[in-house]
Symmetry: C2
Subunit: 297 residues, 2 copies
């Protein structure tokens, strides 16, 4: 099966990087952005700028713009629609209603605190995990087509449901942003001497607090339920005796990262089971995918 | 005034790095460590291994070992004693009682999650802030002697009281370690998919959770009061509406870092005022020190 064409809507950091990575791999990539400067930058990297989109159509726009991202554009009625948004249940609600089983929600776990087409990096996805949603209604061949795009730019694909994804990223990403903000804001209250003595642990702990606040607010509010639940788990941890808390955090932070290579049939339940073990797909074969799961100690 | 000799007790990451940096600058450095391997590593870098210590005696041992660090060693009765411990009021209580105005508490804000003499790096202090305690009883000429050692290895000296230091580092360092542990432990509870999707914000937010748990526990328990107060401030921040919290954190994390160069008389009150503005000493002149304060917007 030849690789389907890819069309990227939104050519900022994520979309621009994806388009650039695919072009670098010799693929035909179409693209569109409402910003003429982003269109020009993508065109200079070999992206065909067009309003007529087909194949795998990737929505790489901010969450508030997601539902309206295709307005004014012409989309092939057989196109597979995917997105790169940081929450999945709300996007599934909006786009799944329109596109049904043709919509496959996705979320590559990369990007930096920079944004915009000036932050484009074709290597952005290399080695990153890319969550890809497999709902009961998702058409499996379309899921595989989107997975193939993610694999083509060097990512590893984690099969999840939208709800599993949103709980997971609340725990590892959205709450990280709130903790970074709280650490920075509380240090600001503590005064100038505290900020003058800030060193490595503060810089690391507050790095993502430098991200665009409108983007972060949209992200956490767009995943409010799971984020509130994850924040409650963090609060409960902060109530533990400190030696216990420190030991528990150390155990997770230093867990072994050995992997076991596995082959999984191309089957909804088997793929989701792989994701639930903390594993990921690394390669598509014929009736199987190859991937890995964390090695059992 | 010729630079006084320096003797370093404890030749692990911090002490070994300090000794190596001073040797690299052409200074005579004596040193001792209870571990023969650490002594041998320091000797190979040009440190004179001896139990007879004078000049500026730097205690670079873990907090629980601080009070007994000089047992079995001979210390010149005119020596100035300083330390590199991460809390200052308890160390002042223990060593100030023995050494009075000859004791000058210190804390260089550097070091990594690595430890031991294998992690020695003579560049460790370059550009780091080094808190140096100026209590009502501290002899000012001794404070200047220790400050000169810190400046000699490229650090910037922040004049503080022990209490001010402990409040400040609780806010920027000790609470950072507890938040990192809580974030990691809560993600561990969330399960394998969450850990599989962990990316940049989680890695940054949990980096210090990889530090030796015994070291971290001693650090936070050794500064329990200020750390509990700083943690309460973080908890209060976490209770704010998210858009407010994110905006407040962003404002602190992206505050301008412009500096105004200042000259401050060598005077207890003037030096402490410099530290309270978030400033630091960068150079010793005759009756003045040169330093900087954050530029007013």
């Amino acid at each position: 099966m030849p690789a389907p064409p890819v069309a990227v809507v939104g050519l900022g950091q994520l979309g621009g990087s994806l388009a650039a990575a695919l072009v670098a791999g010799g693929r035909q990539v179409a693209g569109w952005d409402v910003d003429p400067a982003a269109r020009a930058a993508a065109a200079a990297r070999g992206v065909s700028i067009t309003r007529e989109l087909g194949g795998v159509v990737v929505l790489a726009v901010p969450l508030p713009a997601m539902a309206g991202a295709l307005e004014g554009l012409t989309v092939d009625p057989d196109a597979t629609i995917t997105d790169l948004g940081s929450v999945k249940a709300p996007v599934l609600g909006a786009l799944g209603a329109t596109y049904g089983g043709r919509f496959v929600g996705g979320h590559p776990m990369c990007g930096t605190e920079r944004s915009g087409h000036g932050a484009t990096d074709p290597a952005l996805f290399a080695g990153a995990r890319w969550a890809l949603c497999l709902e009961p209604g998702t058409e499996l061949p379309r899921w595989l087509r989107v997975a193939e795009v993610a694999l083509a730019v060097g990512a590893e694909v984690v099969p999840v449901t939208a709800a599993e994804h949103d709980d997971a990223v609340a725990a590892v990403s959205h709450v990280s942003h709130l903790l970074a903000a709280a650490l920075a804001a509380a240090a600001g209250e503590a005064g100038p001497t505290a900020l003058a003595l800030a060193a490595g642990s503060f810089r690391d702990g507050t790095r993502v607090a430098g991200s665009d606040p409108a983007f972060v607010t949209a992200m956490v509010e767009g995943n409010a339920g799971p984020t509130a639940a994850a924040l409650d788990r963090v609060r409960a941890q902060l109530g533990r005796p400190w030696p216990e808390l420190v030991a528990a955090g150390h155990a997770v932070a230093t867990r072994p990262v050995a992997r076991e290579t596995v082959r999984v049939p191309v089957d909804r339940a088997a793929l989701l089971a792989l994701g639930r073990q903390g594993g990921a797909v690394t390669r598509r074969l014929a009736a199987f995918v190859e991937g890995w799961v964390p090695a059992r100690g």
